[in-house]
Symmetry: C2
DNA sequence: GGCTATGTTCTATAGCTCTCGAACATCAGA
DNA sequence: TCTGATGTTCGAGAGCTATAGAACATAGCC
């Protein structure tokens, strides 16, 4: 991690179009679906066989859209879904979408 | 209308990433929100001050994503939201999103 | 200090998206 | 049939996005 902490938008700054755009990519939607159980995961666990630089790009988009929160831990980067905040700002929406992830 | 009828995906072909992408543009999201009451509207009513060719492009994306149904009527083109079909394929999702349109 | 693991950033490239003027197609009405 | 209204399609330009290799940064461990 070159920077100690990542940029995350505040809950009130999260914009619906940005959220939907971030979720409109199958790779990113899969990442969010994998985080849906609330557990914290490292980037490596979420990448599959996609190159790291490509995944890093997707992680950045998810983070800046306000979907995920990134926390550096050693040389790793741990990700969580910002479930509670998203639920407060867009009640019911994330669940309604994730229920259909995979379609 | 140069072609008598437009291409619409069947309900089963509608893909979630395509839906989310179509909704991730503020102009298109506004169109969908305007159609949310179930009423049929012509393209002209939905355009605002955006050039017609630009709107036509957005209408095409909405249509091909499976969100709207286009019906030629005279020289006009009438649009409706494919609410029932979308509700059957992605229960609760569209409402959950439209509830927050504008944010 | 050297080595390895984990990610990020940089750079490049190909392809896509948005926008919009111009030309075209279709229909209704006078 | 001519005209106006309504949209679509075509073409071009600017900007963005996805992908991925290469270089770099950081932390843990020997």
């Amino acid at each position: 991690m070159t920077e100690r902490s990542f940029l995350h938008p505040g809950a009130e700054e999260i914009a619906l179009p940005d959220l939907l755009f971030a979720l409109s990519d199958p790779t990113r939607l899969a990442v969010v679906a994998a985080l849906a159980d609330g557990a914290e995961r490292s980037c490596g666990e979420l990448g599959g066989d996609v190159p790291k630089s490509t995944m890093s790009h997707h992680f950045k988009i998810l983070r800046e859209a306000g979907l995920t929160r990134a926390r550096p831990e050693g040389t790793r980067c741990r990700l969580t879904l910002r479930r509670a905040e998203l639920e407060r700002r867009f009640p019911g929406m994330l669940d309604a979408i994730l229920k259909h992830a995979g379609k």
